[in-house]
Symmetry: C2
Subunit: 213 residues, 2 copies
Amino acid sequence: MDVERIGEELPLLEGIRTTRAIRRLKPDPVPAELIRKVCEAGTYAPSGGNRQPWKFIAVTEPERREWVAVRYRRVFHDYIAPALEAAEAPDFPERKRRNMRAALHLADHLHEAPVHLFVAGWKRRGVEQVQGLFPAIQNVLLACRAVGLGASLTTLHTSFREELDPWLGLPPEIPTCALLPIGWPIGRYGTPPRAPVDEKLFWERYDPERDRR
Amino acid sequence: MDVERIGEELPLLEGIRTTRAIRRLKPDPVPAELIRKVCEAGTYAPSGGNRQPWKFIAVTEPERREWVAVRYRRVFHDYIAPALEAAEAPDFPERKRRNMRAALHLADHLHEAPVHLFVAGWKRRGVEQVQGLFPAIQNVLLACRAVGLGASLTTLHTSFREELDPWLGLPPEIPTCALLPIGWPIGRYGTPPRAPVDEKLFWERYDPERDRR
C-alpha cells in the first residue's frame, strides 16, 4: 500500500457530499500509517490563536478495545434501549430505524472495530474547549472517506470518562471529547439524508416563519 | 460562471492541507449561488441524532455589513490591542506577527468583506450545542477553498451577540456561534503552520512526557 498516494484523487466537494457515518466495520486491521495520515488531515484544521488543542489517542490492542467496548455497550444499552424499542414500532420512519440499528450494531461490535480513535483537548479557564476539536474531527472523518476507511463520531463515551480518561493516561485538563471507531467499511459511502440547503440558508436575516424546524 | 461545476476538481486531501484562514479579501461581490453552494457543503456535516442544528445567515447588504463591522472593530480593538502592541516587539515570532496583522486587517476592513456568513445553532436543555456546528463550519471553509473563495472563522462577534442576534432576527434559543467573513482572496492559499502529526498522535495511551505542549 502506497500510503502517500492513497486517497489523493477523491475530489473535495464530492467527498464532502458522500461522507456519512459508517458504523458497520470489518474487523481487519488498519495500517498505522493510514491512521497517521487521517490524523494529519485533522491537524490542518483551524483553531483559536492556532493553539492546535487536539490530541489523538489510537487504541488498537484487542484487549484494550474490549475494555472500551464493554463500557460503551453498557452505556449504550442503558441510554438508548428505550429509543430502540420505539424505533421498532411499525410507524417509525424507516430511515431513522436503520440509523438506530446501525448504532446498535456499532455498540455490539465496537470491540471488533480495529481502531478506537479518541480525540482529546484541553480546558481553558476550566471550560472545555470542545468547539476547538470539531473542525479537526471533521477533517479526520473526511480523510477517512478519502482513503477508503469507514468512521463515525460518537460522544457517548463521555458517560464513562471518569474511568476512561485516566486509563488512557489523560490528565483532567485534557479530556476526551469524541470517539471515532475506524475500520474498513462493510457498507457503502453515500449521500447522507439532509434537509435542503434552502431550508437552512437565510439572506440578511433569519425568518422564523420560513424556517420549518 | 458555471456554479455547479466550479470547485469540483480540487482533491479532498490536498484541499484539507491547503485551507488556511484568508483574512485579506477583495470587496468584489460573490454570487449568491456560490454562497449557497458552500453552505450546502456545510449541511452534509454529521450532527447528533442527525438533528442538523445549523442555520446560515448571509449578510450582504452594504449598510448591514457596516453595522456589523463597526461593532466588530470596536470589540477587536478593545480585546486585542494590547496583544497587537506586544506583537510589534522585535523578538516576537514573525509568523505570529503576520497573523496578528491579518486579524487587524480583517477587523479594519470587515465592512468590505462582501459576505458576513453567520452560523447559528440551537440550545438544548439550555446549553449551547456549539460542537454540533463546527463540523458544518469546517465543511463550509473547505468548500470555500474548493470554489476559490477566501474565508476565516471568528467568534469575536459573541461579545456583541446580545445586540446582534435580535438584529439578525434570531430568537434566544438559536444563538450565533461563528462569523465567517467570505470574499475573493487577495492572498494565496497555502499550508498553514501546524505541529507535526507525530507530536499529536499517541498509540494506546497518552504520554505526557513525550508531549511537548
